[in-house]
């Protein structure tokens, strides 16, 4: 049972990363990211109020202590965030480069009259 749950946890973690990587930047995707963030924050609040709850959930999932579970959740959240950020930055960079190229080409075409 515990092994089964561990496998489920790993699959969920990997699919989160895959979603960030492959997912298109639709309105829905952005909305889901916000919802996920809110759920994470809510879970933190609940975990602070009921410290034993994280332990219970962790035992249920077979990942040991509640602190461990938090660490794993945070790790996945961080990796997802980092990849998401990296892709965004690349996209922004690409836009800036296109703009800069347009300027460079306009300038050169005026100069050489072509």
């Amino acid at each position: 049972m515990i092994i089964f749950l561990q496998i489920v946890v790993i699959i969920v973690a990997l699919s989160i990363i895959a979603t960030v990587l492959v997912g298109k930047q639709t309105h829905a995707a952005r909305a889901w990211k916000k919802i996920a963030l809110c759920i994470l924050a809510l879970c933190m609040v609940v975990a602070v109020i009921f410290p034993d709850l994280t332990n219970m959930v962790a035992n249920l999932l077979g990942v040991g202590r509640g602190a461990d579970l938090l660490l794993y959740v945070l790790t996945i959240a961080f990796i997802g965030y980092a990849i998401n950020n990296y892709l965004h930055r690349q996209h922004d960079e690409h836009v800036v480069h296109k703009l800069a190229r347009r300027i460079a080409l306009n300038e050169a075409e005026n100069k050489y009259k072509i």
Partner: protein, 229 residues
Amino acid sequence: MKKTINSETAIVIPVYNEDKVIGGVIKSVMKEFKYVICVNDGSSDQSSVEISKTGAYLVEHPINMGQGAALQTGIEFARKLPVKYFVTFDADGQHRLEDVRLMLRTIAKENRDIVLGSRFLGDTIGMTKSKRRILKLATTFSNVTSGLKLTDTHNGLRVFNRRFAESLQLKVSDMAHASEILEVIAVGKYDYTEVPVTIEYTDYSKAKGQSIINAINIGFDTLLRRISR
């Protein structure tokens, strides 16, 4: 025959902080080619001034954007010129004009879309063992990700026709553009071949060349591009 090909060819040279050598490189290229396009990629040295002294076209990036971006800009400028063939050429003087001649003869005679230079079919003067090993590894990696069969996937010397130039839309701005060009060849099913070329690794080009560890960045970006979007 040779003369007509050369006058229908654009040489695109991305330039980033090469003021010590760029003047000489352009001069030697311009002895044979009419259309030489230098893209100054936001150099902080006197590259721009040195290029202006020659008769080459100078396109100035307002900011530094990387070699891939500079190539794309140069190719887009060259498309407006009355040329049939496009050559990508390094600014640091490690490429030889006789190799360009051979590649141009090949593309015209065999009617290819793109001809790529290969160091491993030709000679490498002064290449370090570690660089050779990394390049072999990069070649294996790129052949796997692109599905092409090449002996040297990261050579800056390429000759291609207008059809290929018109379709080229490089998104990768940095050194990973070499892999991206291969993907364009694979996806568009362009007719390609390799020609042996000699690269001269001088102390200057070695000092300027990309460090081996950058292969990690290139590999990461290439894989990320494959799986994302």
